[in-house]
């Protein structure tokens, strides 16, 4: 069906059906933040174990559609093991992918190489064509971003 493949890439369906890093971490010590999409009732909880230098572990729980669940799953993979700085970089790249970054923050994604470097995250690019779904895609990321702010405040 025309249009559908753009949104529901195979990677997205795979992460929806088999979400990675799904579950919870004991909190405390894990940092925990809940996010809601008041429009549709989707909920996500992100758990992060911060070891002082990097994201030692990350888990996500909650309810949501294929876009919000797969986006959360892809996010956990792409930020696990990353430093604060690196994780922020991933968020910027993700926002650029969805054309959501402020001008000065936009990371250029022009060549196929740029896209390849993004890895599986690039599968979310199709969401741009479905503006109502952008909120689904960003829910976990915004929730995670607030945890980074919390970490930032302690170091």
């Amino acid at each position: 069906m025309q249009g559908l493949e753009d949104l529901y890439r195979e990677i997205i369906l795979d992460h929806y059906k088999n979400p990675r890093n799904s579950g919870t971490l004991e909190s405390p010590p894990a940092l925990k933040n809940e996010g809601y999409n008041p429009l549709c009732g989707d909920e996500v909880t992100i758990y992060v174990n911060w070891d002082g230098d990097k994201i030692a572990d990350i888990k996500m729980a909650g309810q949501g559609c294929s876009i919000s669940r797969s986006s959360a799953s892809l996010m956990t993979i792409s930020v696990k093991g990353k430093s604060l700085e690196e994780a922020r970089g991933v968020i910027k790249t993700f926002k650029s992918l969805l054309s959501l970054a402020d001008d000065h923050e936009t990371v250029e994604i022009q060549t196929n190489e740029d896209l390849r470097a993004l890895g599986e995250l690039a599968a979310l690019q199709g969401v741009v064509k479905f503006p109502v779904r952008i909120k689904c895609a960003t829910l976990a990321w915004n929730t995670f971003s607030q945890i980074l702010d919390e970490i930032d405040a302690t170091i």
């Binding site: 069906m1 025309q2 559908l4 529901y8 909920e43 949501g64």
Partner: protein, 421 residues
């Protein structure tokens, strides 16, 4: 509340939805696919006659109402007040010129009620009874009152089919000062035994409030028989424009209530440090009202009357029956349908979910087929929580929907299910 036939049949209806569609310009716009609009529960479409009434008013008659002494202002006032009478007569109001109050929507009508009753009538510790299936519009205003006034909220429960449980009704309603509930659930489709509850509530001296937002668009309503003291509904779900809602109240109750918003039109006199409220209904209509929208709603009522609300109710039943049958036949156990199983106990909408397909994804795939349904929590989060879901998909119907729309829904749902299996 009228009686409805046992087995209506779409082919035996007094009007043909296909012909009706021609009165609604939205269905004749150029699109890749024909529009299958199944979200009238959120907001219906409107016929040309409603658009024309508003357009004509703006082109020929606009001036502020109840103010100028010139002829134009008088004509605007006349049209506005004529719509009030029409809308009042539509719901059987005994004194339409005084008992019909215009607001922005159901939400504002219900906030008016909660606020006004919260100033003088309700006090800390008083009991207000709701159901667990209220729209946020008839729930949050009471929670707000509870938080600043200290009233207590109690809830009439429902069974697993979404039918209110009346076993402990006396116990629940004993001592209640307000009982406020929906006539028809916007999620479950349940038609509630409103009049029966109102009667018991009155025996305990409660003020009874009805949220008729989902009822008025589909079924004949007569407030003389309903047993409510106050009723709220909203223009845009009943073929009228957005921006206008209605509060009906019996004279005794409305007269006992203090104003909600203050400003122009709602006063009889103002001194530096005091005011005298205007008479009914103006005491509740502060500021310039939605004049064109009220006139548009009057035209919507004409349109509904012309078809006949009993005929509209027959259509509602017929389409509900066919939709339930076809969905059940096609999807059996793989679909979960919320609310009463018997089509005769429901109205307007069908909420459902598939085990492996999230409502958002359902509605996305349906959209690619030109089928519009609502996905989400339907402004009833406590109910969603109880159902154990974050969201459901909801198909809702109105007079322009026919069997083809149901077939399009079923086909698109099958595609969604295939896609995610």
């Amino acid at each position: 509340m009228g009686t409805l036939p046992e087995m209506p049949n779409l082919n035996e209806l007094s009007f043909d939805p296909k012909v009706i569609k021609k009165d609604f310009p939205i269905f004749s716009q150029n699109r890749d696919k024909p529009l299958v609009f199944l979200d009238s529960g959120a907001s219906s479409q409107r016929p040309t006659s409603v658009l024309d009434a508003m357009d004509d008013y703006y082109r020929t008659t606009h001036a502020n109402v109840h103010r100028g002494v010139y002829a134009l202002a008088e004509e605007a006032t006349n049209r506005y007040e004529a719509a009030r009478l029409k809308i009042g007569n539509f719901i059987g109001a005994p004194n339409p010129s005084k008992e019909i109050v215009f607001s922005k929507n159901s939400t504002e009508s219900l906030n008016l009620i909660a606020n006004s009753l919260g100033h003088g009538y309700l006090h800390a510790g008083d009991k207000v009874v709701l159901t667990k299936m209220e729209h946020h519009a008839n729930h949050v205003p009471w929670i707000m009152l509870a938080s600043y006034l200290g009233i207590k909220l109690e809830f009439i429960d429902h069974d697993e089919q979404g039918r209110l449980i009346l076993d402990n009704l006396d116990q629940t309603l004993d001592g209640a000062k307000v009982v406020s509930l929906t006539l028809a659930s916007n999620v479950l489709g349940t038609i509630t035994p409103f009049s029966q509850i109102a009667q018991v509530a009155h025996s305990y001296g409660a003020i009874v409030v009805g949220d008729a937002s989902q009822y008025v668009p589909h079924m004949p309503l007569n407030v003389k028989e309903l047993g409510a003291d106050l009723v709220a509904f909203t223009g845009h779900k009943m073929l009228g424009p957005t921006g206008v809602g209605v509060l009906w109240g019996n004279l005794k109750t409305l007269e006992s209530m203090p104003p909600f918003l203050g400003g122009g039109d709602m006063i009889a006199d103002v001194r530096l440090e005091s005011y005298t409220p205007n008479e009914l209904p103006y005491k509740f209509e502060a500021g310039t009202p939605p004049i064109a929208e009220v006139i548009g709603l009057g035209a919507a009522v004409d349109y509904l009357n012309n078809l006949g609300m009993q005929n509209i109710a027959n259509h509602d039943r017929a389409i509900m029956k066919i939709a339930l049958e076809k969905i059940n036949d096609r999807f059996g156990d793989t679909i979960k349908i919320y609310g009463p199983k018997d089509y005769k106990e429901r109205s307007g909408c069908i909420s459902f979910s598939f085990e492996n397909v999230h409502p958002h994804d359902i509605s996305q795939i349906l959209d690619l087929h030109g089928v519009c349904v609502r996905a989400g929590h339907h402004c009833a989060k406590p109910l969603m929580r109880e159902l154990g879901v974050a969201a459901t998909a909801r198909a809702s119907f109105h007079i322009y929907n026919d069997e083809d729309d149901v077939d399009a829904l079923v086909e698109a749902l099958a595609e969604a299910q295939r896609y995610f299996s």
